[in-house]
Amino acid sequence: MNETSATDIRPLVLVEGLRKSFGSHEVLKGIDLSVQRGEIVAIIGPSGSGKSTLLRCVNQLETHTAGTVTVAGVTIGPDSASHDRELQKLRRNVGMVFQSFNLFPHLNVLRNVSIAQQRVLGRSQAEADERSMQLLTRVGLADKAKQYPARCSGGQQQRIAIARALALDPQIMLFDEPTSALDPELGLEVLAVMRELAEGGMTMIVVTHEMHFAEDVSNRVLIMADGEIIEQGPSREVMQKPQTERARQFLSAVRDR
């Protein structure tokens, strides 16, 4: 139904007129965003500007107040009267990585990566475990398979979380400040995995404070402030020659840090 081939020119993600309010507080004030297959979009901006909320609307962890979100042909309208089945269909194509990792503490690393493959994709445990081991090897953590998450460093946990999301063969990966909870050295190992993913052609939306990642790895940068996209364009241009005063202020403030 929503089969999409690699040559499909429709955007993989299409967000139109997206608004989100928490009570009377409007957090997203009409966002339009389209992301093509293979594109890597970085979202930066001051804290509280609505970056996480935007990302969470894309996979519908938050319902939105107005507008539509379409991912790989599945469209969700506002305050989703959407059925669980539509949500499941949308989420099937979207992987998400959180700032706080959110591994399941009572399951070992292998189970963490395998469980959704079995429950969502219907893979057998043997198939799931095999795929999990491939992915754990890819993120350099095959030796941790039988450990519990608490025995792993933050950087390792985040790499496991990436493997867990990849295990469902998503068409797009969302990252919400994946390195913000990590010491810089540990953040680097996570960024390295993300770079590799990017080189492999994965479509990604990355909310980040890592200006180098935004500039070097992403194709496009979006700057958000107060629930709006105040500037966007090719990464180098936006990062080096921002057009708006607000964007200039924000960039010089983060660079001074």
Binding site: R92, F104, P105, Y148
Partner: protein, 213 residues
């Protein structure tokens, strides 16, 4: 003294049966009560809240009378044991529901979000992700409750369930050696609680060692 003990010990299996029976009823029945209490449906959650308050506010002794004489005098004829199990089980269930609710609140929102983002079906989120974590957090409180329950089973003697306190009362009426007999009864309650506390700490430590949160 030894024959007193020997006589009393015959009440121990019934006390343990009542304790673990009511605990089992409560641990299971507590799950739907907790879910109703947390339901987004206001009627359901308010009803559950009212039931929890009502059941907790009435002393176990009164509940046992209500069930035994109330239900028992009508169509239903309940044996003392069933009445005691039902009453204590119900009281345990609402307390379990509140323990679970506290444990649920202690679980990081990210656990729900991650399992939703992965698209896990609802049953899996509850049974495989959140449930085990709730169980793990609840364990110490449940063990403490079980020890309290062990002592509370003594009320069942009032309606004639032949457990430890019943045997003690009976024996003391026959022999007039109240002090010795109830000292022995007390000793037996201690002897039963200690292993419960010990096992719970052991299990808790083992999980902690593995999961170390």
């Amino acid at each position: 003294m030894l024959d007193i003990l020997g006589n009393l010990v015959t009440g121990v299996p019934m006390t343990l049966f009542l304790t673990f029976g009511a605990l089992l009823v409560g641990v299971i029945l507590g799950i739907p009560i907790c879910m109703a209490r947390r339901s987004h449906h206001p009627v359901l959650s308010n009803l559950a809240a009212a039931v929890i308050v009502a059941i907790r506010s009435i002393p176990p002794l009164v509940w046992l009378f209500l069930i035994y004489f109330g239900l028992g005098s009508g169509i239903l004829r309940l044996s003392p044991l069933v009445a005691a199990l039902g009453g204590l089980g119900l009281i345990t269930a609402v307390n379990m529901a509140e323990i679970y609710r506290g444990s649920l609140a202690a679980i990081h929102a990210g656990q729900w979000e991650a399992s939703q983002a992965l698209g896990l079906p609802r049953w899996s989120r509850l049974v495989e992700i959140i449930g085990p974590q709730v169980a793990r957090i609840s364990l110490p409180a449940v063990a403490t409750y079980a020890i309290g329950l062990l002592k509370d089973t003594a009320v069942a003697s009032i309606i004639g369930v032949p457990e430890l306190a019943f045997k003690g009362t009976y024996l003391s009426q026959q022999t007039f050696k109240g002090l010795e007999i109830f000292a022995a009864v007390g000793f037996l309650y201690i002897a039963m609680s200690l292993p419960i506390a010990w096992v719970s700490r052991l299990v808790d430590a083992r999980i902690r060692q593995r999961v170390a949160q």
